[in-house]
Amino acid sequence: MKADQPGEPVISLRGVTAELGSRPVLRGIDLTVHHGEVVALLGANGSGKSTAVRTVIGQVPVTRGEIELFGTPRRRFSDWGRVGYVPQRTTAAGGVPATVTEVVSSGRLSRARFGILRKADREAVHQVLELVGMADHAKQSVDALSGGQHQRVLIARALASQPDLLIMDEPMAGVDHASQEMLAETLREQVGQGASVLLVLHELGPLEPLINRAVVLRDGCVAHDGPPPPAVGQHALPGHDHVHPHAAHGAEPVRTGLLS
């Protein structure tokens, strides 16, 4: 396992604050992911870990502070092909059927000019499906997949652009054991090829051996930044509880269903 490696920061948050509604969720956090590092973002429900990740990708506006991606301020950052994002699985369900290939292909758009997918793009999509073991399901509807298979599809979509940085929000939530092993293996390969990773996790689980550093959030502040807590001690993390992670969206607005 690599120790903290000095290198150019790929993600850098300095004094970032953010609000949902008018409730402060982040109260000035510093977070850096260096090149080649695997950083776990831990914390209880409502501690702001998902929000922190969403400020990085620009989904949640920042009220104060600075965010840089690959040394470029996020507002001016445009090389999105270098970033692969795996959102919480609950956000990725459309009201119209779509096949595994169709969903994963949209991950290639950042590399495709004018949204036209060429032969090389289609090959890249096929490759990542092989990588996560979903090539046999390429023509299947994503609605018909199990939780673990669905998560593999979302990871394939993130990997389709061959990113240098992976950002994953609770990739292990609701995923069966076989898929968890598969995901850990895929992640290990990506890290071996020099990818940097920022992971939001509820507990370290099977990814533990991969993680170089853990950042623990509590009430929107960084409570710990350093080596990951030992496996047996993870229940002693500040604010750790055993509520299921999907309850963490209390801050999200109620969707009306009409024009959510």
């Binding site: 509604g21 969403r54 990708i57 620009g58 989904q59 445009s78 090389d79 999105w80 092909g81 970033v83 692969g84 994002y85 959102p87 699985r89 956000t91 990725a92 459309g94 009201g95 119209v96 059927p97 779509a98 096949t99 169709e102 969903v103 292909s105 949209s106 991950g107 758009l109 950042s110 495709a112 949204g115 036209i116 997918l117 046999d136 023509k139 299947q140 509807s141 609605d143 018909a144 997949l145 199990s146 939780g147 669905h150 979509r157 652009s161 950002i167 609701g174 607005p253 009306t256 269903g257 009409l258 024009l259 959510s260």
Partner: protein, 298 residues
Amino acid sequence: MDILDYAFMQRALLAAVLVGITAPAVGIYLVQRRQALMGDGIGHVAMTGVGLGFLLSWSPVWMATLVSVVGAVMMELIRWYGRTRGDIALAMLFYGGMAGGVMFINLAPGGSNANLTSYLFGSLSTVSESDVTAICLLAAFVVLVTLGLRRQLFAVSQDEEFARVTGLPVRALNLLTAVTAAVTVTVAMRVVGLLLVSALMVVPVAAAQQLSRSFAATFAIAVAIGVSVTIGGTVTSYYQDVPPGATIVLLTIGAFIALTALATPLNRRRARAMAQATGDPVECAIPATRDSSGKIGV
């Protein structure tokens, strides 16, 4: 075919076909975003445009286009910013639009609610030369957007958060979807009417979903259903004295029911074929998580 001997029927059929293509083509993105009723909302707002058109003696079609585009952009802005009570704001926009239409048309010299009726429920046989020109131009815009940007619109409608990370201009694409939906409403206004527009945007897509597993197939089948029912409804209304708008919508719902009935045995066979291909037994493979249709509860 004596039906094509009449100029008014030629215009009616052309308008109907264009609506049959455009309404499901936009509707599929609205359904994908779970905004199925957005077309209905825009339809209500467009009434103000029709009323204003009469009041100012401008073309009601172009005026309705303008007002419904403004309304659709407002709905999209409410979705961004007015998160807390967005539904209330939208309700006010809908009913304000409807009330505005009734008000303006009654203020117009010689105007009454009777003028409005042909826009509310469609008036295919009175589609004029200039209406056809407007409908053709607007339909061309809709087809260009919905087909040309299908990958981008698919990505944004499927998962907005992810689309942001692919570097797509998410807000611009959302606004474009709203504007395209507004344009489609005014294209369809003369054919099926403002109150029934949404049916043609949503029901063909829902019907197509019964058969398809991919987005591309859903798109193609939905447009095919849209064109079939609009032609079918128009022709029926020529031979039988029935209102075309209502006929088209009822035919669409009929298509939905027929395809749903057809889909059940088809899906069962598909599930069996899939199980054979992957080597899983059809029954009791993974207890409790898999229901009879092969869907897996998450």
